[in-house]
Symmetry: C2
Subunit: 260 residues, 2 copies
């Protein structure tokens, strides 16, 4: 049974302030926890899970984690979970070191004030899909260790370097790289096909990129609109842009019977 | 002040069963409510909002709505809201008629068991952005009138025809059209560039497309992976695919100074 003190400790990790003090974060759900255990970059501190889950996964867990496995009851998981539907496992991990991203010869994402944890997590997952190794976040972005961010990354959190910083200063320091700002007007994203090096700027969900940051961009780029929606979700826009910059580098030939 | 009976009535509309019986749904938030009011396809029944919001928006509202404007208090909005952070306005609208989508000569989305309301709403918004006029949903998909779906569409709900049906039967009836199944392996989505007519199949968030439906597809298509994430979010994948099928129809020429 979980002690009151330990329950309160885990609950405190729902909040950035205490994650920062303790230098740990929590991850929930079988898939995310197993992916993080499997990562060589992240150290696990504690695993709290339902007994059947522990039994089923013990052989796999033991490959990566030597600490005690703590069986907990449903009502205890509910108390410590930060998600609306608690899963079978909550684990505590050490935070990663803040990276010093290498941006030379690479495509790098820069996020200006992405506030929604689900969006940030989804963007990290997208970066991991497209092999983007670094994300630069303005200090006002959602915390990467927010439980909802961790959940939305689906395990990608350990594979993408992230730097939280004063984005204006950082962009000025890296002004030798071309900076492309995702916006509602600008050049068609298709024009970035095959780009090898540069920074893709994504702005806040409601307000877009702030004027101060916008003026540091070389150029605005946009996803052509064929219908009437006013905008696209920030994570969706990020996925579309990266797919055109990166995935279009080697399009296969049309095959027989394909429309044109 | 809201009566207990009316408060309970609005709360009942958080559930599909009662939305079906009453043939209405609720929308929340200034942006979504104003977009729906502005739509010629959707009829508004009732508007409940904080007094300052009503005062500010009354001239605009009056263009589209003749009914009474009911000022409510914060605590009342909290009671009737279906969202975790209640906004300034909740409105009741008549449901749209279920469409009989016209798929000839068009790109149509078919969703197999998309369960997450946020994903469904985001997919509707994406369809609206790319001018996809119809979405066919398996009966097991989230309800389009779920308050979280309505919220995530950001007003696009009135602009996209949706049909909930037995997807297997519907696909069989429309087998004259090419059906492309989004999957983790298959042909590069870039090969669909310029496709004029066809059905793009998107599967469940965890399990993908069901085997029964998969065998009705002409071909599997995939978003090339350059990194390590196991998959992409269903809505993100939908956006990326549509951007390659539709937005790539007229890519502009590279301009001076653009990479590679």
């Amino acid at each position: 049974m979980l002690s009151k003190t330990y329950t309160k400790y885990i609950q405190s990790l729902h909040h950035k302030k205490f994650r920062d003090i303790e230098n740990v974060f929590i991850a929930e759900g079988s898939k995310v926890v197993m992916e993080l255990l499997n990562s060589t970059k992240i150290e696990c501190v504690h695993i709290l899970a339902k007994e059947p889950w522990l039994r089923e996964n013990e052989p796999e867990i033991k490959k990566y984690f030597n600490g005690p496995l703590e069986p907990v009851e449903d009502y205890e998981l509910e108390k410590i979970s930060a998600l609306s539907t608690p899963s079978q496992v909550v684990a505590v991990f050490m935070k990663l070191k803040q990276g010093a991203p290498d941006v030379k010869g690479k495509i790098t994402l820069a996020l200006d004030d992405i506030r929604d944890p689900g969006n940030l997590g989804t963007i990290i997952r997208i970066a991991d899909w497209f092999g983007v190794s670094s994300i630069i976040c303005s200090d006002s972005c959602a915390d990467r260790y927010n439980p909802k961010v961790v959940q939305s990354t689906m395990g990608s959190i350990a594979r993408v370097d992230m730097l939280y910083t004063n984005l204006v200063e950082w962009l000025k320091k890296n002004s030798s790289l071309p900076i492309y700002a995702a916006a509602l007007t600008g050049k068609n994203i298709a024009s970035l096909k095959g780009l090898q090096e540069g920074i893709i700027l994504i702005g806040n969900e409601a307000r877009g990129i702030s004027p101060e940051i916008m003026q540091l961009a070389k150029e605005s780029i946009t996803i052509p609109k064929f219908g009437h929606a006013e905008s696209l979700n920030a994570a969706v826009a990020t996925g579309i842009i990266l797919s055109h910059v990166i995935a279009s580098t080697s399009p296969p030939a049309l095959s027989e019977g394909e429309g044109a």
